[in-house]
Subunit: 224 residues, 2 copies
């Protein structure tokens, strides 16, 4: 019973997600689903990314949180359009929430939509929300054992961002083990070591993102 | 439809949780539900707590994880009985999982059972698993905005442990804001500042836990 209901929810979600992919694809918009634990640094990464890229492309942000509009307020200060989704206690975004949020954005003007999911290494990984790719942020203060303990969210990521590397000297984080586990779980994923605090590694992240967006454009032009 | 199914699941869960509370209470066992994000330091807190208290009381541990027995292996090295629950991707423990795990422990010998929940600030807060009290761990590297963003897990906690305070000088964590928000969300909760790495504040945590266990014993003796 319980399982059937869950299957229905996922099926319905995937149908809406496919519609969103088609609609965004038709407008030439790249959609990124940003995942990670509470406090891994998703919003700070986003602030940095917006500051670096907003003059070369038109970006909007959708912020997913249980409650509060704290993150949306931070993003709004970067001068880009932002929509806050409050799940009211729900543990992940779904495609329908994103569809409703998209109705509040002027899509024709956009190149990139970044959707920051609810801080949670478990549930958001199960829901496609119409994105072109998932990127997962892990802060080194969370420990090197997390990829094996929460594999799905790392397996699905095209890029894994290891954040807060400036704190490496003050922790016992085992970088070798983390890299080994990540490449066994998600062999194709890019692994980017960054510190949003010092700026270390961020240029590589921006390059990766630019290339990934360009790749989609090239593919869709080839399809035309 | 979806809501009714969820209500049934919670009702059934609470019924089992009540049975567990009665059964553990009858044996004079205190049960603690330890909550927090992935990497907040729950397992390290547990290792320290076991080392400090295992000679003065009989403790067993139940470890909740999606996959792997990494945490149970760490706990076993402390020489206490430990049962690993793997949820197989599930985002929280429930009372039925704990009931099954308890069947593997020799209850008559125990004073305290600590249940480390799945690393997740959202879903575990909704499920009573038969505990006497919930304790939530927040590491300061997660940021001071988390209590307002994930209020339920803090509201339900009798004690909030602010972990990794040794990293305060290297972060922009706003302690004043964190304390203010925590006391507005959960005015009665004890707030304990600790570093599991340096040992700072741990004695206060052990005292709090000893007192809380003694309080239950006094109450149940008064009820007899």
């Amino acid at each position: 019973m319980e399982i059937r209901v869950m299957a229905n929810i996922l099926e319905q979600n995937d149908r809406i997600a496919d519609e969103l992919k088609a609609a965004l694809g038709a407008q030439g918009i790249f959609a990124l689903n940003l995942l990670g634990s509470p406090g891994s640094g998703k919003t700070t990464l986003l602030e940095n990314t917006l500051a670096a890229l907003k003059d070369e492309m038109n970006i909007a942000v959708i912020e997913g949180d249980l409650f509060t509009s704290k993150d949306a307020e931070r993003i709004a200060r970067q001068g880009v359009p932002v929509i806050q989704i409050n799940t009211g206690g729900g543990c992940h975004l779904d495609a329908n929430m994103v569809r409703n949020a998209l109705a509040g954005l002027e899509l024709a003007a956009l190149d990139l939509i970044i959707i920051e999911n609810v801080g949670n290494l478990v549930c958001p990984a199960e829901f496609d929300i119409g994105e072109d790719c998932k990127v997962t942020v892990l802060s080194i203060t969370e420990g090197e054992d997390k990829p094996l303990k929460y594999p799905l969210v790392f397996k699905q990521a095209e890029a894994v961002i290891l954040n807060k590397v400036d704190l490496l000297p003050y922790t016992s984080f085992d970088m070798e083990a983390a890299c080994e586990d990540l490449s066994s779980i998600s062999p194709g994923a890019a692994l980017l070591l960054v510190s949003c605090r010092t700026g270390e590694g961020l240029l590589d992240w921006y390059s990766w993102l630019r290339q990934r967006i360009a790749q989609k454009k090239t593919r869709s032009q080839a399809d035309d």
